[in-house]
């Protein structure tokens, strides 16, 4: 498949771009900044080509209409599309606000998503569609969902930067919040990494996630190991908490005004929210109605979309009508994206491990 070549190119480009953006904020050399942008544009272009090629391959293979062959049918393809939207959104912001510093925050999200694809060994092959997925609503639904997810991802990174750059004291609530969030995030990644090394190699991702996730740590059969895992997480949070001011120092070199960060957070949500409502909730409901005769059945995926919707409705109303600004509202934006991640990954990966939902 030619598409995998271009996917590989774009992955490498995004990793290089991440390095370049981080060095840019460290050294503030214009040349580095320019090359960071150049590499990102190159990565974006190859990814675009790759997606189009895969679309063509899928179209030729499936023998279905062009609209029904959109490569957005499994976890792998949707993650790729998410990264594509994210980078597009980022490039627009870079050109509009003439500021490259976000790159150091956004490209790692893209790289993490791509690394997740490779590490989890999820199937990257073109899979035939089960009948329920053969609907034109699927295209509109999945595509718009991912556009909104990318907007939410942007708002998340600016909200987090806002929190990091504007908290001072270690006893401040929002300082504790972001250090804890980052610490837990790191702990979860670490725990998944340990599982992966111990059990995951060579195993199908579904089986791995269902049976082994957190088995070496939080869900270990030994109570002692469980206890130690939680203690380790606490220690990690503590370390981040101790050294948070370093990160703050890094962010400060970005020279971003808090007002601007706050504005980008709000604007990304203001664009993402209507798209999410129409594409994620409404088109999803129409599709379910056409395929199964129920537009709403409170299944976990639907319910988590609704939870996400409520968190962002919370954000909008708190900000516009209760006048929440600054730390408080940024915390809400961070929670919003946590809900997005859970809607997208958690339901398939974690809840389907707990229950018997099919995760195709």
């Amino acid at each position: 498949m030619e598409s995998s070549l271009f996917f590989g190119l774009s992955t490498v480009a995004y990793i290089l771009a991440m390095v370049a953006y981080v060095s840019y904020i460290a050294f503030r050399k214009n040349g580095i900044g320019l090359s960071a942008t150049g590499i990102t544009i190159f990565g974006f272009a190859s990814q675009t080509v790759a997606i189009l090629l895969r679309w063509k391959e899928f179209y030729q293979l499936s023998g279905m209409g062009i609209l029904r062959s959109v490569p957005l049918t499994n976890l792998y393809e949707s993650l790729i599309f998410f990264v594509w939207c994210l980078i597009l959104g980022y490039l627009i912001i870079e050109f509009k606000y003439k500021n490259r510093s976000f790159g150091a925050f956004v490209t790692p999200i893209a790289v993490l998503a791509l690394a997740f694809i490779n590490l989890s060994g999820m199937s990257t092959g073109i899979q035939p569609l089960v009948p329920a997925l053969q609907s034109n609503w699927l295209l509109a639904h999945v595509m718009m969902s991912f556009i909104s997810y990318s907007m939410f991802a942007l708002s998340f990174s600016t909200a987090l930067m806002y929190l990091i750059s504007s908290t001072d004291k270690r006893n401040e609530g929002s300082y504790i919040f972001w250090t804890a969030a980052l610490g837990i995030f790191a702990a979860v990644l670490l725990a998944m990494g340990i599982d992966w090394v111990r059990y995951g190699v060579g195993m199908k991702p579904d089986a791995f996630i269902k049976s082994y996730l957190f088995k070496s740590t939080f869900r270990n059969s030994s109570g002692f190991v469980q206890l130690m895992s939680y203690a380790g997480t606490a220690l990690l949070v503590f370390l981040v908490w101790l050294s948070g001011s370093r990160l703050k120092g890094v962010i400060e070199t970005f020279k971003l005004s808090p007002v601007m960060l706050d504005e980008i957070t709000y604007k990304s949500i203001a664009v993402g929210f209507p798209i999410f409502t129409l594409g994620g909730l409404i088109f999803g409901a129409i599709w379910a109605d056409q395929a199964w005769g129920v537009y709403w059945s409170w299944d976990p995926k639907e319910t988590w979309s609704l939870i996400t919707w409520f968190v962002y409705a919370f954000y909008l109303h708190a900000r516009l009508l209760r006048g929440w600004r600054g730390h408080k509202i940024s915390v809400v934006a961070v929670f919003g994206f946590v809900a997005v991640i859970f809607t997208y990954l958690g339901v398939n990966l974690l809840l389907s491990g707990l229950h018997s939902y099919g995760s195709q």
């Binding site: 409502t277 409901a285 129409i286 056409q290 005769g293 409520f310 109303h317 209760r322």
Partner: protein
């Protein structure tokens, strides 16, 4: 007197509590938080399942206690629990009262035309610009007006001492976008309520060749007695061919009372019959993954066929407000009633179609080759030793074993599989084709009647429109004042926008450029 005043302030307080954003934020949080629990414990599942789920979260020791607590609180079927419904009602009431509370103010803003701005107010507007030009005010009227038109405003003029002022506004109605959004949410909830009260969701498995005049819904059965009653009613319904009127007369009850009772027991009479004529699955090549599955349904009303259609996933059939969706399929436990549809072709071109049961015999026309169907296998495969076995409970590879007798006295046995036409070939170009093995599968059909769905869809459309207006259309006002200043004129611009101020600022920049270039070109 005093008492009355107190009462009034109490109802005022209740009103402002119900209209408050604070309440909205609390309700948002409560709905979100409780819903999270509802996605972790599986809804309406067997207790053992959730004990396992809770065990993997809290440990097996605590799981039974956690289960008991959550069960008592209604979390095992939480989206239908009284407190969750109460939250939704509170949400709707909050939304409605808040809108009623604020609407008059917004309506006034929408209806109020713009007025000219007093000269000293220009300084206080959020967007402003100023420029000096050489021409006299009187000479600028046309060019200023056309510049304002250039950025899309239709301005009115008021003459002032030594000059004039243009003023305009655009999209004042966009302030209603938020109300359309909120109203739509109420409409969607209303549609859902209509569906719950006047519709049903049912399910039925129809074997190929058979018909049903009722479907099964969730039951409210709570005792063995009710269970027995259900079976008895099903029998009576069956002998009356689904005619609720006749059954009601037999039992001496009213039709509505019987219908309610049936509904309680999970039985929904359709008032007409639906027959599954045929069911079929297409597979992806060299795979057992279904590409499409479909049923040919015929509706009988008053005993006469009125409508036939192939239904597929995403392609339902509708009749009298009831929609039938292809949902699942399966194989009957007893396949002895199955009929093989054989396409018999001789090399010379004679052909025939026969419908035969296992044990029946056939002749290929014009050849003298005869055969007999010995066996049926729903999912034929061969093990390493070459022995046939059934590899799947679904009918993934239907095949028949035939024993053949040729005119020259030779005999042979052969497996013929529906999905593999190569297996149909006999020597000398004769063909025994298995085109269907009919009557051993059932189609799983979801039946739904939801008179509220159009209300929901309407609400969805207006919700999308409302959100679009609320976020992307802004109410903009602009004032341009031209006053005599020394030999020439001073043009002052003031503007405001209720959202996306920076985009409007760019437009004002355009306006400035236009004013200057027009001035110069004079």
């Amino acid at each position: 007197m005093e008492n009355q005043q107190k009462q009034k302030s109490l109802s005022d307080r209740i009103w402002s509590f119900l209209a408050s954003i604070k309440l909205a934020i609390i309700v948002f949080s409560l709905i979100a938080l409780t819903s999270i629990v509802g996605t972790v414990v599986e809804q309406q599942a067997a207790p053992e399942k959730n004990l396992k789920v809770l065990g993997s979260i809290f440990g097996d020791g605590l799981a039974p206690t956690a289960y008991k607590v959550l069960d008592t609180l209604g979390f095992m079927n939480m989206y239908r629990s009284w407190w969750f419904l109460l939250l939704l009602v509170l949400f709707a009431v909050n939304l409605i009262i808040c809108s009623i509370d604020r609407f008059p103010g917004i309506w006034r803003v929408v209806r109020t035309p713009v007025r000219p701005l007093p000269p000293d107010a220009f300084r206080n507007m959020p967007i402003k610009a100023e420029l000096a030009v050489k021409a006299k005010p009187a000479a600028l009227r046309e060019s200023v007006l056309s510049s304002i038109r250039g950025i899309g405003f239709n301005a009115a003029r008021e003459d002032e001492e030594g000059g004039f002022q243009f003023y305009a506004q655009k999209h004042a109605w966009s302030r209603l976008g938020v109300y359309i959004t909120h109203f739509s949410i109420v409409v969607i909830m209303l549609g859902a309520v209509i569906g719950i009260f006047f519709g049903f969701k049912g399910f039925v498995n129809i074997p190929e060749g058979l018909a049903t005049n009722l479907v099964y819904a969730n039951t409210g059965i709570s005792s063995q007695a009710e269970f027995d009653e259900r079976n008895k009613l099903l029998d009576i319904m069956d002998s009356a061919q689904g005619d609720v009127g006749q059954v009601a007369k037999e039992l001496g009850v009213s039709v509505p009372a019987l219908t309610r009772r049936l509904r309680h027991l999970g039985i929904v009479p359709l008032g007409f019959a639906v027959r599954c004529d045929q069911f079929d699955v297409d597979y992806y090549p060299n795979s057992d993954m279904p590409k499409a599955y479909k049923s040919h349904l015929t509706v009988f009303d008053g005993g006469k066929p009125v409508l036939s259609k192939w239904i597929e996933v995403n392609e339902p059939l509708k009749y009298k407000g009831v929609t039938f969706y292809q949902s699942s399929y399966g194989v009957l436990p007893d396949t002895s009633g199955g009929v093989a549809v054989l396409e018999l072709k001789s090399a010379k071109g004679a052909s025939d179609v026969e419908r035969l049961k296992v044990g029946d015999s056939f002749t290929i026309p014009g050849t003298g080759i005869t055969g007999k169907i010995d066996e049926f296998n729903p999912a034929l495969n061969f093990d390493e030793a070459g022995n046939p076995y059934t590899y799947s409970p679904m009918m993934t590879n239907p095949a028949i074993k035939v024993s053949l007798k040729f005119p020259d006295g030779r005999t042979a046995t052969k497996w013929i599989a529906k999905r593999y036409p190569e297996s149909w070939q006999l020597p000398d170009g004769n063909i025994v084709g298995l085109t269907d093995f009919w009557g051993v599968r059932y189609t799983g059909v979801q039946a739904r009647k939801d008179p509220g769905v159009w209300v929901v869809y309407f609400g969805c459309i207006t919700l999308a429109l409302g959100l679009f207006v609320a976020f992307f259309v802004s109410h903009r006002k602009i004032w341009v004042r031209v006053a005599q200043d020394k030999g020439g004129s001073r043009i002052t611009v003031a503007a405001s926008s209720n959202k996306n101020k920076s985009a409007f600022e760019r437009q004002i920049e355009q306006l400035k450029t236009a004013l200057l270039t027009k001035e110069v070109s004079k």
